[in-house]
């Protein structure tokens, strides 16, 4: 039972010692991951579980042909990353992102959303 006691002690010690840093997971996005929206969005916003390091975080939005439809550099504030997009005709769009959390852990991902009636 000493191991259990030690584990409990270590667990709470670790969590309370440095509980502001971790890999940044995508919490949610607007437009929502995998969704179909009837009104074309003017921007794509990603909301992460940790604060981001702006210099090393980026987002790319492309259409079904692989052509970029985002308006360039993302705006990053705390744990949110946004990028404007050009007027989007109906179709499926792919969002690729890479971020660096404040503690220098890198994560990446991609998803699609559809614009259509």
């Amino acid at each position: 039972m000493r191991i259990l006691t030690l584990a409990t002690t270590l667990f709470f010690a670790f969590v309370t010692a440095d509980a502001a840093r971790a890999h940044a997971f995508l919490d949610h996005a607007e437009p929502r991951v995998g969704s179909k929206v009837t009104t074309a969005p003017t921007e794509v916003a990603l909301f992460f579980s940790q604060n981001l390091e702006g210099a090393f975080s980026s987002i790319e939005v492309s259409d079904a042909n692989g052509a970029r439809v985002d308006q360039g550099k993302a705006k990053i504030s705390a744990s949110t990353m946004r990028v404007g997009v050009k007027p989007l005709p109906p179709g499926t769009y792919k969002v690729r992102w890479q971020v660096l959390s404040k503690d220098t852990h890198a994560t990446e991902g991609n998803f699609s959303f559809t614009v259509g009636p």
Partner: protein, 318 residues
């Protein structure tokens, strides 16, 4: 030593091999996160602590004995791609007549090298060498051996996120697995008066990642707790393949359905242990684990490789 106790100790050895030799990697491959699995190992080196792993089961004896295993293991990256794990297991076996046997298994170390991480295809391959050091446990109780065990092992993991989008929800599946060849440092155990077999130690997991489903495929708006779950089925098996004179070449092991909850700093796993045959146990056992991500808890100190700097500040590609 009684035959039931010998049987129990043999099964304790199997559980030790399958539960405590499995390292604890915080395993990202591209967009895929492969959690630390409980009965098998995941295919990454990392800085992590698994404490405790607790297993309860009933042995295949007649009548069955009740067995409790409590283990801990810490993994540390020496360089970006090379890591070492050390682990220890404590076992308690209570026979039906009340006889109690308790003690430590042999001390275990695992050396692992990251052979491949293919981010685009969510593929990871790891080579390892597991060493159970003889005479480092409770040899007097029979729970540890006088000889060592050396097990070269190959691990792999593959996520299915690279499948075409037509596969939709199926892309959240991933598999991991390992195959090892266990070689004892002696061919005959004079204390047990028995040959010591060379064994194939292998296992696999099939897992469905709700975090991956939410962030990569479709956000269904499910409760946050559900979005942190990874339902999983593990299988952990051992088959004698050589130097097993006079004994059956019976495969033993368990199939473990369960679930892992993944947080930012730790994960909690719980699985049922279903023996694949009578030699593997009686009834359904339970396996649980608390697993801590040291690289996230202490990103600037012990969460870094000892040499070679950080892996996390890699150059981003766009």
């Amino acid at each position: 030593m009684s035959r039931p106790l010998l049987h129990s100790i043999a099964l304790a050895g199997i559980i030790t091999v399958t539960c405590t030799s499995h390292a604890l990697a915080h395993c990202f491959v591209g967009a895929r996160f492969l959690p630390a699995t409980l009965a098998t190992d995941d295919p990454c080196v990392a800085d992590e602590l698994s404490l405790p792993t607790v297993a309860w089961s009933k042995t295949g004896d007649f009548p069955p004995a009740s067995e409790l295993d409590i283990s801990g293991e810490i993994s540390k990256r020496i360089t970006e791609n090379f890591g070492v794990s050390i682990g220890q297991n404590w076992t308690s076996i209570r026979q039906a007549d009340g006889t109690l046997t308790q003690g430590f298994s042999n001390f275990e170390t695992t050396f692992q090298y990251q052979v491949l991480k293919d981010r685009e295809h969510e593929l990871a391959i790891l080579a390892g060498l597991i060493v159970d050091w003889g005479r480092t446990g409770s040899t007097g109780s029979g729970l540890a051996t006088n000889y060592s065990l050396v097990t070269p092992t190959l691990y792999f993991g593959k996520g299915f996120g690279d499948l075409p989008s037509d596969f939709s929800w199926f892309r959240a599946f991933a598999v991991t697995g390992q195959v090892g060849y266990q070689i004892p440092t002696t061919s005959f155990d004079f204390t047990q008066n028995a040959f010591v077999p060379q064994q194939l130690v292998y296992g696999a997991s099939l897992q469905y990642s709700m975090p991956y489903l939410k962030s990569e495929i479709v956000d269904l708006g499910l409760p946050d707790f559900i979005n942190h779950l990874i339902p999983i089925v593990e299988m952990s098996l051992t088959t004698p393949v050589a130097n097993n004179f006079g004994n059956p070449y019976t495969t033993t092991g368990t199939v473990n359905p369960g679930v892992i909850w993944v947080g930012s700093y730790f994960q909690i796993g719980l699985e049922a242990m279903i023996p694949i045959n009578r030699d593997s146990g009686t009834g359904v056992g339970v396996l649980g684990q608390l697993h801590l991500y040291l690289d996230d808890m202490f990103p600037s100190t012990i969460g870094q490789p000892l040499f070679g700097g950080t892996s996390s500040t890699r150059k981003l590609t766009f």
